[in-house]
Amino acid sequence: MGDYLIYTDAAKCIACHSCEVACKAKNNVPEGATLGKIVVLGPRLINGQPRMSSLFVPCFHCEDAWCMNACPVDAIRKRNEDGLVYILQELCVGCKACILACPWHIPQWDADAGKAMKCDLCMDRIDEGQEPACVAACPTNALQFGEPAQLSHKAREEYGLSLLKRNPAK
């Protein structure tokens, strides 16, 4: 995901889809298309109790991006500073090569404009020092945005502290 990561805390996610709706509202995404998508499994029975879990799937901003490589008119670019992959709308000719090339078909079709569109992790917001719209909207903080190292530090720290609290020094 470029230099960033969006992490879904399934324990906190309540499958409300605010992330999806906020993304659509912010990016003016037409009906039928979804840039960031929350994928929900369940409820289904696990050991006799109903359970569900979820994962937010935006664009991954691949290092060697299939979509970018496939675009015949170089409409897809990658930012040097943080590796975000985005579409230059004015150059897109609507051939849909990126949609086909992406292993997860993540670029979306904007039927109104006749062009492809995709998640750019709200790079305008990132440039203003804000989190992507999906993350900011999530009402439970189930989505966390950051750099991989920072998320890893945070998670390990939390885990370590919980162990220490459970087994304090004698």
Binding site: I14, S18, E20, K24, A25, E31, M52, A137, P139
Partner: protein, 695 residues
Amino acid sequence: MRKKIYTLCFMCSVRCPIAVVVEDDKIVSIEGNPHVPAMKGVCPKGAAAVGWLNDPQRVRSPMIRTGPRGSGQWKKVSWDEALDYTADRCKEIFAKYGSKSAVYCERVNLVTDISKTFLKAIGSPNYFSHDTICKGSVNTACRTVIGYTDGQISADWSNARHVILYGRNVFESMEVKATNALLDAMAKGAKVTSVDPRVSITAAKSDQYMMIRPGTDLALNYALMHVIIKEHLYDVKYVNRWVEGFDKLSAFVDPYTPEWAETETGIPAKDIIRLAREASQAKPAVIFHYGYRASHHPTEIYFRRSLIMLNALMGSIESPGGIFIKKGPKDAGLKAGIRKFSEQQFPAMEETRRFDGCGEEKFPIADTAHGVGAMFPSAVLNEDPYPIKVLFAFRFDPLYSNFDFQQSLRALKKLDLIVSCDINFGGTTSLADVILPESLFLERSDPLQMGAGLKPAVNRRIACVRPGFDTKPMWWILKQLAQRMGVGEYFPYETIEDIWNYQLADMGIPIADFEQKGFVSLSDKAIWWDREDGIKFKTPSGKIEFVSSLLEDNGFPSFPPYEALETPEDRFRLIVGRCVAHTNVMTQNNLYLNELVPENTLWINEKRAEALGIKDGERVEIESDTGKGQIRAFVTDMIHPEAVFMLHGFGHQEPESRRSYQRGVADAMIQDPIMDKVGGSPALDHTLVRVKKAV
């Protein structure tokens, strides 16, 4: 220039505090108000609010109907024309039938004080709110036990150690603050038990789920009380100090053993015993949530009473982690609260008897502040107690909210004048004579809100952008109407600032104080009353009344024997509920929310479906004594075999609202006209239905 504005959402009645970023009169983003810690974000309805801003399917200007009711034939008119027309028609009708012939219904909101002022000024006693249909019996039940309404109490989710929910779908009804408070408690180790005939998202996130036979929650509670009393699991000190009638309850629940409840509820006796013990271990940080929007049956008031009584047995009322009584400005040390327009002196009404019999012989103990809305159609059709001719339906749609849609439709068609104030074309609005379109909450400022709670605060909604269409705020509309009806003097304001200053006159808070955070806090610390001696219960005895004077003085028993519930083998009990994407019957046509959940389906147990030859996704016919409809089946093992479930609020028939037009089935079409005659709620989960493959 970019601005961040702190205001209150109104995509649902919760009114979460939000932060709206605006640039050049356009909304850039809507997020939670960062000054309120639990407001980590917004629900999908809040996120979807912008979908309404420039939606051409909204009511874009005042309208007067030109064709037959519901024909969709409208004339676009100016505000003056619409208001003059409304006032003239009212004057004409009132001259003949009196102003009592007007009924005013609304979704309770920041303008409610002005709505009530309007009704008092024109001289009609007839008001009902959406609350009466959603939670009338919860309100009555709470008053019979502790003297407060359900709106005057709340749950201290974040400190709870065990929360027991009866269909209360916390995570799908989604008050952002409560959702986070409960999730935080769970992260700290609180246990959540969900009792529900259907697996909601809340149930799937709970520690334990108990699938209960629909309609038998009261049996479960009597057995829980039986175990709690027999095993001395209750808070003895608290009960001795605060409870009246404990011995009566003990004797009453004695025959209701867990083994008896097992046959009634389908929940194994050992699980009932375990739940009683587990809850007791966590006491007093236990919440038996009194709930709403689930389990509406004819004996609902006794079910809700049993929940409040369980909290009392746990000693959890006015205990951290339990239920608390909301505190207001006086509790925070202020001399006065918000001044109300409806408390001015009004001329005496020529008729004080109400259309619904609320507070009178028919419903002596239902709350007159909300009325008994379920009675509206029959009052109109039978002209009982007198003819009703005018309906003001202000951002509330009684047609899809009550049982027996066809009866409601006949009643609406019988009226001489329907005045609707709405954002979009809802059911009642599309039948109206005149539509006075309200501005969206992002486009209007409203009267201040007194937010009672552990930390009382005054909250403000302020306009973020200019109205995109020719719409107005309701406080303006009501004053304009009142002036034209000769009673303008009760509306001593021109601007919203005048209203705010009037409201704050006795509080000494300057309006500028709202700029920084959108609210003014009246207390920095949570106000708890002393559990030993300081709880001010508002019952006649000042105690928690298991034997209720409110009930008994009005001829109702406190402990009527439990009546077993039969469901014939070829039938199902239709239960209804909400999803996170929609508010009642109001949001189904919103651009984004319609895409998220465009129609409802019928949840049906896989074994029953198999026996009926119904496959997942197939169209089925659902039929009750009242009505029928066709809907897609959702075949699942996540619902009790005796129940079928559908979301409330679909099946819209308004051609103007094109996205939601004829999507799904209206539960109102199927629900039988049965109600809780003591509490005042319609029994919306009690209807028996047949289901078969559609032909």
